[in-house]
């Protein structure tokens, strides 16, 4: 395959374009914006590479394929922190931690002292925690921009107006591709970014709560991303209730978050299929790479590799579906 078109410049599109370029392919990317930005839902992602934790509710392929993600991102030159994940509960939900531990792998239970050694700013607040050491995280916006710039340097054309596709098309438009994929639905996610130089965290922290689960992902410069709601809707307006829940949960994690500056509130709808697993769906001369749900940065590398292998080598990878009219 010498030429290919990628529709969509979010995490799926950029990963597919990267894999195509690695195979020596001449690639054009159609995206309404010239650079990564708020129009793609990966802009609002947490950037956790946490396959083990996701295994609490996600199906087995998410855990297995997700383990490839950290290496892939690091190979592309993206800064990946590999210090694991901390999982905690508030006092009256402490049995939630046992349930979480039963349903996931790759963790060890820490007592208060061990937690304080890993994350001093959580010390004294929790009598036990799980440490999932083999997980990582990245800054999703920096990662998208890095891929975009590297592709630009490699000669990939980024075009705003979709023109005539050249060769095989990889449709990575997320929820916009509902015109071709009727079983795709939106799952609303709301997030907030705080600036809080008073708190230092070295790794993502998950607060388990039966009603208001929260994760906090540290970013450079004293920034923290709080995420994320999961609502069956493709509405894109942040609700007061959701933001209240996120901020309250962060405050419960460490009251010093109460002094933070509220930098940003974000919302978008994740593209998902009914089983919340992704698809590589071939329709004529198009391969759809879609349905990454809440696992964009976790699954896009594997899905991109499989899609490009299928196109170049004729393999029939996992999640492969062919639509015949």
């Amino acid at each position: 395959m010498r030429r290919a078109t990628v529709m969509g410049g979010g995490v799926a599109g950029l990963c597919v374009a990267t894999e195509l370029v690695a195979r020596g392919c001449e690639v054009t990317v159609f995206d309404p914006a010239a650079r990564p930005g708020p129009h793609s839902c990966s802009w609002w992602a947490g950037g956790m590479l946490a396959p083990f934790c996701e295994g609490e509710t996600a199906e087995e392929p998410v855990v297995r394929l997700g383990k490839e993600a950290a290496d892939w991102w690091a190979q592309q030159g993206v800064a990946v922190a590999r210090r694991g994940t901390i999982v905690v509960t508030l006092g009256r939900d402490r049995r939630e931690l046992d349930r979480f531990a039963r349903r996931t792998d790759g963790h060890e239970m820490l007592d208060a002292a061990a937690l304080a050694r890993l994350e001093p700013d959580l010390g004294g607040r929790f009598d036990r925690a799980l440490h999932v050491s083999a997980e990582g995280h990245l800054d999703p916006r920096a990662a998208l921009i890095h891929l975009r710039e590297r592709l630009g340097r490699a000669g990939v054309a980024f075009v705003a107006e979709p023109g005539r596709p050249d060769g095989l098309t990889f449709d990575c438009r997320g929820l916009v591709a509902r015109d071709k994929l009727p079983d795709l639905r939106g799952v609303k996610g709301e997030m907030a970014v705080l600036h809080c130089p008073d708190i230092r965290l070295s790794r993502p922290v998950r607060l388990l709560h039966p009603r208001f689960p929260l994760y906090v992902v540290p970013r450079a410069g004293g920034l923290f991303m709080l995420g994320a709601t999961q609502i069956e809707s493709d509405d894109r307006r942040p609700s007061v209730r959701s933001v209240l829940e996120l901020l309250s949960a962060a405050y419960a994690l460490n009251p010093a978050f109460g002094e933070a500056e509220l930098v940003e509130i974000g919302v978008d709808a994740r593209p998902a299929f009914p089983d919340n697993l992704p698809r590589l769906r071939r329709q004529g001369n198009t391969i759809h790479v879609n349905g990454l749900f809440r696992h964009g940065f976790l699954l896009a590398p594997s899905l991109a590799r499989m899609a490009v292998e299928a196109a170049c080598d004729g393999t029939k990878p996992e999640f492969w579906h062919e639509d015949h009219d």
Partner: protein
């Protein structure tokens, strides 16, 4: 089993929130044969039927849909949500929740009666989420409700029937009113117990959706509901303090 004149095959009702995915939700319905799906319209609602993809999935389950007013803390919110639900799902059934306490999600009995009366007059068939309180139950029936949904325990706790005396009293006071134990059940044995006591059906969400294998748990509950109902209809024996041998002792060589 009839609610407001509509025949429902199953005595198990399932909520539709918190499942790992819509496919798992559908599996839980299929394996359990649950006859009614409750749906929260408030959270998922947005402009232009924003949640419609999910609601289509619920409609495709092929069971009766009972929209609810979960998350409403006032009469006005509950009434508005009910009216919205009627348009969205084309049904006048509404599971009425008016929450009185944000932390325990306990019903607000005063707001509940007021909203039930208003909605009944507006043509709704109201399924009120209530406590086991007998006086409150009477007021809800006076307000026009023909079904009651008393809690077993607070929502999401999985504690089972925390006031067995109260639940027996409620059942005995209104023997002819269809009653569904709603909220607080965690295990099939608790559902069986409610059915043995003569409750007509049970409604579950968290216990199934948050189980490691929701579809298997849904089937477990379905069997327990059936077992409990059979036991109730079979007129159970009365317990007694002394052992009563089922074969006569006289004439047996029991002195060897």
């Amino acid at each position: 089993m009839r609610f407001y004149g509509t025949e429902i095959d199953s005595r198990l009702m399932l909520g539709t929130a918190q499942y790992p995915s819509p496919r798992v939700l559908a599996d839980a319905f299929r394996r359990s044969g649950a006859g009614i799906a409750t749906v929260s319209v408030r959270r998922e609602a947005g402009g232009e039927r924003a949640g419609s993809a999910f609601w289509d999935i619920v409609s495709d389950l092929g069971v009766a849909v009972l929209p609810n007013t979960a998350g409403c803390h006032s009469v006005r919110e509950a009434v508005t949500t009910a009216q919205m639900a009627r348009e969205l799902f084309d049904t006048n059934w509404i599971k009425l929740e008016v929450i009185g306490h944000a932390d325990t999600l306990q019903p607000d009995p005063f707001g509940l009666v007021e909203a039930a009366r208003y909605l009944t007059e507006d043509g709704f068939k109201v399924f009120p989420y209530t406590t086991e309180d007998v006086v409150l139950a009477g007021r809800l029936l006076d307000a026009g409700c023909e079904v009651l949904m008393p809690w077993g325990a607070p929502i999401g706790t999985g504690l089972g029937l925390t006031n067995i005396y109260g639940m027996r009293t409620l059942r005995a006071q209104f023997p002819d009113v269809p009653m569904v134990v709603d909220a607080g059940l965690g295990l099939p044995s608790q559902a069986a117990m409610a059915m043995e006591m003569g409750y007509d059906a049970v409604l579950l969400n968290t216990a199934v959706a948050r189980a490691g294998d929701p579809a298997a748990m849904a089937e477990g509950f379905a069997r327990a509901v059936e077992a409990g109902r059979l036991a109730f209809e079979a007129d159970p024996m009365e317990p007694r303090d002394m052992a009563a041998p089922s074969t006569p002792v006289i004439g047996k060589a029991f002195l060897t």
